[in-house]
Amino acid sequence: MKPKPNDVILHTVTKLAAVIIFTFSIDLFWAGHHFPGGGFIGGLTTAAGIVLLYLSFDIERIQTNLPIDYKKMAALGVLISVATGMGGMIYGDNFLEQAFGYFDLPVFGETELATAVLFDIGVAFAVIGTAITIITSISEDEL
């Protein structure tokens, strides 16, 4: 048995870096509408952040602090995407017909709101869920 290594530096840096990574990935996600980025890449970077957490700490601790079933998350993502597609149908449009508009919101001022963002959220969830499912199931495998 190897003695447990002392990872103080790694843990500290991870705690800081994770916040930055998550912020960056949210930024990538929101920017997607007008700048490079979007659901796919935003989801992937979020997943990268979670993987960093897994690498620094053990799996059990992450799962108690972030109690998410990633399989369900992936399924939920696909479901959201399909549901936004159905949304258009309620108003008599075609399946996956996206709508957007400009609204004057209390805090943000004039803001563009688009159903495409909802769709993108589905994409992001599916990407995060799938990536983490694959990585955790491979790493938990005892071989």
Binding site: L28, G32, H33, H34, F35, P36, G37, G38, G39, F40, I41, L44, T45, A48, K71, A74, A75, G77, V78, S81, V82, G85, F95, L96, Q98, F100, G101, E112, A114, A116, F119, D120, G122, V123, A126, V127, G129, T130, A131, T133, I134, S137, I138, E140, D141, L143
Partner: protein, 803 residues
């Protein structure tokens, strides 16, 4: 549905009820008693049609089946159809009666037996009465299928199964050929009706499809009627229960081919190749069957070969008679039409005496337990009635008076002698062979008829050789059907012209239209003067008797003929080697080696692509629209080539993985240069993940047998990879140089107005083409779940394997 249709389809309707009757009453009453009503009813109703038909009328009724395609169940009842239908239903009734006593109701699956038999009867009746060739074909195959089922009735016996399979393969082979021939005829004349084909016979004769259609239809007829060399299935079909052999394999099914030939004679007759093929194959079959029959030791096999021989006789007469169509009118026509007349007469006679003989053999088998002539003998005093019937049947088959076989045999000789005078179809000298072969075959026919009569019934009885102890005469009911047939044999001899006037002449008109029925030629006389025919018959009897007495001295000659050269052996080795060859061929290319399969795929792609480029003369390049190449492009490409070569040539797997990663990151740089930021970002992250996964796989490679060695060099691989690379490069260069339509990118440039997004790529992904994205994330989800289930959910057995 008319009454006539009801009669023809009655066997099928009755077959539906058989299992219920069997279930309800089998313990008390034999199911056959219910079944026998069906053929009797049909027979009586058909008898009622005789007056009308013999007056030259015909019955034709249509029943719509697939009218849009012109496929209807059209009944056309003329003399030929009626004659066959009478044989089918009449002998059918007798066979059912016989089977009631032959098949024990305690042991046998009678419902199966009678369903198959009724199915066969219905198919056969429909076949001979159908005017539509496609309906004819359908029922033709149904006779093959029901015959298959009946031969393998005792399916637990290996020989039954192999016999059934052989019969099936050969007859279905011929049936399919026939279908092609019939379709050709339908293409020429644009109708499926046989009558209309006959009416348009000029079109058929002029068509270039005349010969192929004729050959294919002949193939069907020859296989069904067990003509040389397709006769091998018939002896093996003798594994069927004896009523089946009597019914299918002597009286009805094997005559379906004869029927087809007769039916098609107005279309093809009068043609040289038809004359030679039908007549020639007929006499070959005749002599082949009679010679082979002599050496059989099993009674049923003997009868099978004799059936083959007799079918050849009928066939050769039909072939010779087809010359009547050539002359078409006058005396010459009548002379050759006489051969057809003889064929029809003998066909009828053969059904009577061969049916009786099979039933006799069935009785012997049933009462003694064996059919082997080496064990049988001296049954005459024990079974006097059976002996009498056998005597009538075999002497009739041998062609002796006072039995109907004598009359048709004499007419056969007449027909063959006239064939030798045919001078119109080329090969003049060869026609002399017809009467010579016919005479020799008749001698052999006489010999095997003697064997059939003498070996089981005369001589000494060896009880110890017989499997059954108390040998006695058959029950009354079993003797009635052969007795009826036997008395028919004699009756026809004394009153042949009743049969001729009411049945044979109308049938003759169907085969040879516009022949004059009143001609004196078509009167059957038992005594027609001391002609050549009579001397020939006397010769047959004398030589045949001499040869039969000395059979032990010369039949060694027959056994010298090696079994290895027999057709049966040829068929068996043919099937075997076909199986072996196809197996070895499949094994040769289906190696199980993925490399080989990839090689086939790549060779195929390269050959097809390059071939079509050259074939379509598409090798042209238009490089005017290309952008200028910058220094960065060259740098990145050089680096990429270097990384790719490293991946190929390295010894070390880690190096390969890392250099693959390098290719991926260089791709990111290309995306950056070509101004695709979204792609670059995604490619970067995805490349990282895949590289990590590769490393993971590498880490888990088993220790055993793990060697760090260079990839083996294979020339074929090199050639193939260069070929594929070249193909793809060429295709890309050609495709980019030729823009056929205007790109639709202009539309997507309005993304901000249309979708409220300044990022065009994202707008396309989530808005314009959101459907693709939706399905792609579904793919991702499936992949994730796939990995999860592959790793987590192992079957319990595999854990044991690992332990």
């Amino acid at each position: 549905m008319s009454f006539m249709h009801f009669i023809i389809l009655l066997p099928f309707i009755a077959a539906l009820f058989v299992p219920f009757i069997y279930k309800k009453w089998n313990t008390s009453l034999h199911t056959g008693w219910f079944v026998i009503i069906v053929p009797l009813f049909i027979f009586i109703n058909l008898l009622l049609q005789i007056p009308a038909i013999s007056n030259g009328e015909t019955i034709s009724i249509s029943l719509e089946w697939i009218p849009s395609l012109g496929i209807n169940f059209d009944i056309y009842l003329d003399g030929l159809a009626l004659m066959f239908a009478l044989i089918i239903s009449g002998i059918g009734a007798l066979v059912v009666l016989y089977s009631i006593f032959y098949m024990a109701k305690e042991r046998e699956a009678l419902h199966n037996f009678y369903i198959y038999l009724l199915m066969f009867m219905g198919a056969m009746l429909g076949l001979v009465s159908s005017d539509n060739v496609l309906v004819l074909y359908t029922l033709w195959e149904l006779t093959s299928v029901s015959s298959f089922l009946l031969i393998a009735y005792w399916y637990e016996r290996k020989r039954s199964r192999s016999g059934a399979l052989k019969a099936m393969i050969i007859t279905v082979f011929g049936g399919l050929a026939m279908l092609a021939g019939l379709i050709m005829l339908a293409m020429i004349t644009d109708t499926y009706s046989i009558r209309e084909m006959v009416a348009n016979v000029d079109l058929i004769i002029e068509s270039s499809l005349f010969l192929p259609a004729m050959l294919l239809i002949l193939l069907g007829a020859f296989t069904k009627s067990a003509q040389f060399p397709f006769s091998i299935w018939l002896p093996d079909a003798m594994e069927a229960p004896t009523p089946v052999s009597a019914y299918l394999h002597s009286a009805t099914m094997v005559k379906a081919g004869i029927y087809l030939i007769a039916r098609m004679t107005p279309i093809f007759g009068g043609n040289e190749s038809w004359f030679w093929l039908v007549g020639g194959i007929g006499v070959i079959t005749l002599i082949y069957g009679s010679v082979r029959a002599v050496r059989q030791t099993d009674l049923k096999a003997l009868l099978a070969y004799s059936t083959i021989s007799q079918l050849g006789l009928i066939m050769s007469l039909l072939g010779v008679g087809s010359a009547a169509l050539y002359f078409n009118i006058g005396n010459a026509q009548e002379i050759y039409a006489f051969a057809v007349f003889a064929a029809l007469f003998h066909l009828f006679n053969h059904s009577t005496f061969k049916g009786a003989l099979f039933m006799v053999v069935g009785i012997i088998d049933h009462e003694t337990g064996t059919r082997d002539i080496r064990r049988l003998g001296g049954l005459m005093s024990i079974m006097p009635v059976t002996f009498t019937i056998a005597l009538i049947g075999s002497l009739s088959m041998a062609g002796l008076p006072p039995f109907n076989g004598f009359l048709s045999k004499e007419m056969f000789f007449t027909g063959m002698l006239r064939a030798s005078e045919v001078t119109v179809f080329g090969l003049d000298g060869f026609t002399i062979l017809f009467p010579i072969i016919a005479w020799v075959a008749s001698v052999f026919t006489f010999i095997y008829c003697m064997i059939l009569l003498v070996k089981p019934f005369l001589g000494k009885l060896h009880r110890e050789k017989l499997p059954k102890d108390n040998v006695h005469e058959a029950p009354f009911g079993m003797l009635v059907p052969p007795a009826i047939l036997g008395s028919l044999v004699i009756l026809i001899f004394f009153f042949p012209n009743v049969l001729a006037n009411y049945i044979l002449k109308p049938a003759l008109v169907s085969v040879v239209p516009n022949v004059s029925m009143d001609s004196k030629l078509f009167e059957i006389k038992a005594w027609h003067g001391l002609g050549t025919e009579l001397w020939m018959t006397i010769g047959v009897i004398i030589i045949g008797l001499l040869l039969f007495v000395s059979i032990k001295k010369w039949n060694i000659v027959l056994r010298v003929y090696p079994e290895k050269l027999s057709l049966n052996q040829l068929y068996n080795t043919g099937i075997e080697s076909m199986e072996k060859r196809s197996e070895s061929f499949t094994n040769r290319y289906m190696t199980g080696n993925i490399r080989h399969y990839l090689l086939y795929i790549f060779v195929f792609i390269t050959v097809i692509m390059i071939g079509s480029l050259i074939g379509l003369e598409a090798l042209s390049f238009n490089l005017s629209s290309q952008e200028e190449i910058s220094v960065y492009d060259i740098g990145i490409l050089v680096a990429m080539v270097a990384a790719a070569m490293t991946t190929l040539l390295t010894k070390n797997r880690i190096t390969a993985i890392v250099s693959l990663g390098a290719v991926g990151y260089l791709m990111v740089m290309l995306f950056v240069i070509f101004r695709a930021p979204d792609l670059a970002l995604t490619q970067m992250v995805v490349e990282t993940v895949t590289t990590v996964l590769f490393l993971l796989c590498f880490y888990h490679l088993p220790k055993l047998g793990k060697r760090l060695e260079k990839m083996k060099f294979k020339v074929t691989n090199l050639i193939m990879s260069i070929g594929v690379g070249l193909t793809v490069t060429l295709m890309t260069l050609i495709a980019t140089g030729h823009k056929i339509s205007v790109p639709i990118t202009d539309f997507f440039e309005n993304a901000y107005e249309l979708a409220g997004a300044k990022n065009i790529v994202n707008a396309i992904l989530v808005d314009f083409r959101g459907f693709d994205t939706m399905l792609e994330i579904a793919v991702l989800l499936i992949a994730g779940l796939g990995v999860y289930t592959l790793i987590k959910l192992r079957p319990k057995g595999s854990e044991n394997d690992e332990a």
